[in-house]
Amino acid sequence: MILGLVSVCTPLGDSCLRRGMARIPPISLTHPASLITAVFTPWIVLGIALLIGYFASYLTALSWADLTFVMPAAGLGNVILALLSRFWLHEAISLERWAGIVLVTIGVGFVAQGPSLTERPTAEAPVPAEVQQPLLEEQAQ
């Protein structure tokens, strides 16, 4: 369910961003401030709102699954975007894109069959020591 939300918000948010950025004149590295003003274009704001929704669900997924499990699953978003444009906007999908859809689907099926979390030696402590260590050091200071 959460992974589904991740897959839906990403393509929608991204396409809003692309629409927004295409309308802005080229930005140069010598004027970094123009990158900041770009953030306040309506399409960019909508895109960012959708991406925040994506990020919240993505973080929830990461709290109980491995990064290498969530990342491929989030790739499913590209498939959803392609299928949406095919059946909703009636765009033609090239052979190359169908190949992409098949590959991503097989890849996600592959990873979904395995365990979602790396087994740790201590089953009752879900927090792995090597991850907790930097936090503890920071608290000790």
Partner: protein
């Protein structure tokens, strides 16, 4: 596309540098936020215990999470910059698919995740697939 081929097209090295910047910063951000979420614990359990605000507070008070967010923000701005200079059909597939593979490597190195043959296979499959789709 209304953007013409002009002198503003970046050269090979500039294009490589822009994409490398996206890939590196987003990989660092992903790994740091993943480590933060693992150290916080299952968000569903935290929400059951102390409510939605408790879960949000648990995430926002994690220093690891903030370091990750800084890198993700850098990745976001380098993506905006690259999109502004280069064709979408180059930036999107290159950064999206490369990030998948660098993330798998970084997750194995730094998060000590068990990246077995099945996960490598799916990372590569999704990487190639995303490249085709975004092209």
């Amino acid at each position: 596309m209304t953007i013409p081929f002009s002198a503003s097209q970046p050269g090979f090295w500039a294009a490589t540098a822009m994409i490398a910047a996206i890939v590196l910063t987003s990989t660092a951000g992903e790994v740091l936020t993943a480590a933060a979420m693992k150290s916080i614990g299952d968000l569903d359990e935290i929400r059951a215990r102390s409510g939605l605000m408790g879960a949000i507070r648990a995430v926002l008070t994690s220093p690891l999470f903030f370091t990750g967010i800084v890198f993700l923000a850098l990745a976001f701005f380098s993506l905006l910059l690259a999109l502004n200079h280069m064709a979408l059909s180059l930036v999107a597939p290159a950064s999206a698919s490369l990030t998948l593979v660098t993330n798998a490597i970084a997750a194995k190195l730094f998060l000590k995740e068990n990246v077995d043959r099945r996960r490598w296979a799916s990372a590569v499959l999704v990487c190639v697939g995303v490249y085709f789709l975004a092209h």
